[in-house]
Symmetry: C2
Subunit: 368 residues, 2 copies
Amino acid sequence: MTERPSPTELVRSLPATVPFVGPETQERERGRPFRARLGANENGFGPAPSVARAMAGAAPQMWKYGDAQNHDLRNALARHLSVGAENIVIGEGIDGLLGLVVRQYVEQGAPVVTSLGAYPTFNYHVAGFGGRLVTVPYRDDREDLEGLLDAVKLQNAPLVYLSNPDNPMGTWWEADAVEDFIDALPPTTMFVLDEAYGETAPQSTLPALDISRPNVLRMRTFSKVYGLAGLRCGYAIGEAETIRNFEKVRNHFGMTRMAQEAALSALEDQGHLHWVCGEVEACRQRLYRIASENGLTPLISATNFVTMDCGRDGAYAMKVLQELGKRDVFVRKPMAPGIDRCIRVSVGPAEEINVFEAKLPEALKAVE
Amino acid sequence: MTERPSPTELVRSLPATVPFVGPETQERERGRPFRARLGANENGFGPAPSVARAMAGAAPQMWKYGDAQNHDLRNALARHLSVGAENIVIGEGIDGLLGLVVRQYVEQGAPVVTSLGAYPTFNYHVAGFGGRLVTVPYRDDREDLEGLLDAVKLQNAPLVYLSNPDNPMGTWWEADAVEDFIDALPPTTMFVLDEAYGETAPQSTLPALDISRPNVLRMRTFSKVYGLAGLRCGYAIGEAETIRNFEKVRNHFGMTRMAQEAALSALEDQGHLHWVCGEVEACRQRLYRIASENGLTPLISATNFVTMDCGRDGAYAMKVLQELGKRDVFVRKPMAPGIDRCIRVSVGPAEEINVFEAKLPEALKAVE
């Protein structure tokens, strides 16, 4: 065997994991494109035309590194949210920010609490920095706030993760339940509240922003309703010192100039946001109907996807997903025991939902 | 004092460092823009018009996450370089890739060898993952290959960094010297060879690509001659297993779709690349002349900047830089003892060089 540099003990222990297999990868393996791209909770209604124009206008300026302080975008967000610019850090999507949070708060071997079957990319980062995942099963298809809290206290965990509204189930907790959870948390436990789907949820879902708590980080993104997943731009809102600590570990020139420009422009076009939210709601209603007409039980959703209970076990739901795939429909599914009986279908433009509507009965028939 | 989550022991030990203060930050502090942006080694000649058009065309598709495998770009680079796609990993600029390399190979407390005054962002990552920097002074304004090798062996270092051509001096080693260095390295030491400025160097500078060595990573970028610094797209070329190991730690969906599209398009427009290289060479000649006419000694450069010896000590060169700044000229300077007597001026369009030419005599007069 050739002598070679040895990765660290931690890195040697890691599998070459990919949290998700992307649709392009699947398309290359299949040898043909999907006709309905409804698996990644993207926003097929697209970014605002005003934002596309802003990107085109900014393109010739891409020879300049982006502003390392993300000054304009941070300040625009601060005004939009009525917090200070010192309460916001911008990152390469929530994915990138999650990695930075784990790196900041998780010593090797430390317990990190999340729900069993929640966001795989968070788990990837926890493993990648040597944390020990402590998982709490979903309860009635919602993340179990009481169970998460018990696990945090039992383990004295430095970090706990919750997405509200939830991915992959689309369910949610009302703001007062989340506030009770926050009040009950040990002040030494960092709480990541992932609100990627916050804009499509009922208004009663998001707690008021409280930037006085050093142990709460609210995460939001331009990847969903703003339609900019391909530009990687997310942000965290928190107490000033908690936010300032990101300066120690973040890649200061890591945010693309294009993402900063596009996000700024997207934030200014709230009309498009409202239009998208309307389309999302209409499409959710249509997906509920399609599910019901086919004997599946839709979960009422606060997100840009609808999770559908296939009514049998995980193996059955997996076959449904595979048969949809054979028919050029890309969807995903929850994988953990208890929630794996479902498939998860993103909202999208009518033509793609039409394909799903046409192919779902065929897929269900094929697995009978 | 409020109880709060405690960062890890390592993170607590880190300063809230920023490797560079960006020009936008300086402009905000100054209260007015620079007239000549010649400090960040960007490519003021810009991306190709064909690439700007590609970006504009891709903008409406930014609702899709980027391809996690970066398949098309990796394959295009593989063809361009005559290596396999399995020999290439794409990252968020060389900056992002450097962080991933340090994370993979540096245990806390392990020695990492670099030159004193070389790339601060590399040092930032080494500190950030708990490595111990071992620095070797420049020798005759070049990185000291012999000194670096001695330090690696003395310290049994798992990682050594060299940029060739060099930043911040613009000097370079011929390929055979670099190959001798590689041959002499312990096979267990990972060697990062940063070739960000490779395209503007004499052809004899870059060693032939040898993807059989598990301990060499060649890093290149679309930020310099391709004019896409603001999109963050770099790549590393190496032996297949070394490249595969990045899968364990990289942020798989971290590359923007826009960067992948733009880089692919840039690679196809080699005509623009050649034109830029011609402009860079012409501008270097002009900068040599301007330096000489003002009593400074230009260092012959293989990069897109010219480093100029101000002929006195570091404090004097710093004053020259400050006086240029007061006159709306943004340049940077080497900071380490021995090389800090210089200022570093990026090439750029004629109108910006004109400003530098007009303001340099004034700045020198002001510090007399």
